[in-house]
Symmetry: C2
Subunit: 214 residues, 2 copies
């Protein structure tokens, strides 16, 4: 359970003096009710607090996790990933940018034989190189790509929630979805089987929310 500092303070207040109204919690924190609204909504959704109309907030025994939240954690990357768009590391930065536009994606996986992950290039990486004096037509993409072991990856069976956390934590837009294998030299390699992006998370969020609507 990961609270923000403010959420932790709200939970403490409700634990100590429930039932308590949103107005009263706000007064104790020297904040407005409007400022607290999103935290109260999230804590209630998560099943940490219970909101009873005209009474106020109660602290809920944590043993009773919301079944919806349980299901949310069962969703796996493999079921929501997109197809990977891959290039070879000897192609020019210019051609990489063109590929990004023709394929309409925000990042490319750079692969070797057998779709083995070699690197990642994002729109941001390409924009940075376009800003400098680099000859985009001559310089290969391998010069600017992010390489192992600096690539943050995910797997098909990782929970969507964990992959989404990686995206926010590392401030990136895309995770390559990989399958690990051992090559003939006994080294661990990663075959690229997909990509998982903030767009995938946003689509999933919309789908869950709109299905709940009447």
């Amino acid at each position: 359970m990961e609270f923000t500092e403010r959420q932790a303070r709200i939970v403490e207040i409700v634990k100590n003096s429930s039932p308590i109204t949103g107005e009263q919690i706000a007064a104790k924190l020297d904040l407005t009710r409007a400022t607290l609204r999103p935290d109260l909504t999230i804590l209630t959704m998560a099943g940490v607090l219970e909101a009873r109309p005209r009474v106020g907030y109660f602290y809920k025994d944590k043993k009773k996790t919301s079944p919806y939240m349980e299901r949310l954690r069962q969703l796996r990357v493999g079921d929501f990933k997109s197809l990977p768009i891959s290039i070879r590391e000897n192609i020019s930065i210019y051609d990489a940018i063109v590929t990004m536009f023709t394929q309409n994606v925000g990042s490319l996986t750079v692969v070797g034989e057998g779709q083995t992950l070699r690197g990642m290039v994002s729109r941001k990486d390409l924009l940075k190189s376009a800003l400098g004096k680099t000859d985009l037509q001559q310089v290969p993409v391998s010069i600017i790509m992010t390489r192992m072991p600096n690539i943050i990856m995910t797997t098909a069976d990782e929970p969507v929630l964990e992959a989404a956390r990686k995206l926010t934590l590392h401030q990136i837009d895309t995770l390559p979805v990989v399958e690990a294998f051992i090559d003939e030299k006994g080294e661990e390699r990663y075959e690229v089987i997909g990509r998982f992006t903030k767009t995938n998370v946003t689509k999933l969020f919309v789908q869950i929310g709109s299905l709940g609507a009447q």
Copy 2:
């Protein structure tokens, strides 16, 4: 309620022959159980189907909407938005790219007097112009920006779910959060008060999911 075609077929099957197992639904659709898993999970989360262990899926009376989904729809853009990063339309494309890097954002709002929305520029727009023969230092950003009425916007009181839907539908990363006002000529204008992005949605998704965890 917006179903994908496959979800609609699943719901139809469960309506007509419940209780029915995931295996049986998959057989009727000539698909594997694994392929159906995400749809079954989402339909169950949304409260459309009910899953009883060792029995199968039931169709649920829609009148009973999940209280969690109800709460999800109450979340407003204003509570989760980021600060806008704005530039003037006479600055060069080069300076716009530099601003994007120094501010570490994926898009910029172009504003006039009083933070009035004039345009939007994304990393994609800038990358496209960097690809051509444009003199990035000389050409102003107004030449490449998206202008009104082609800008998709949101407001502080719009549900997060609706804003997220706009992001996916229009394949964009950022919505400017605006407040409409009427200028001295009687025309409707929009003051930029924030930006709402796929990153905001992803962070919210992670927060909701991780709070539910034990």
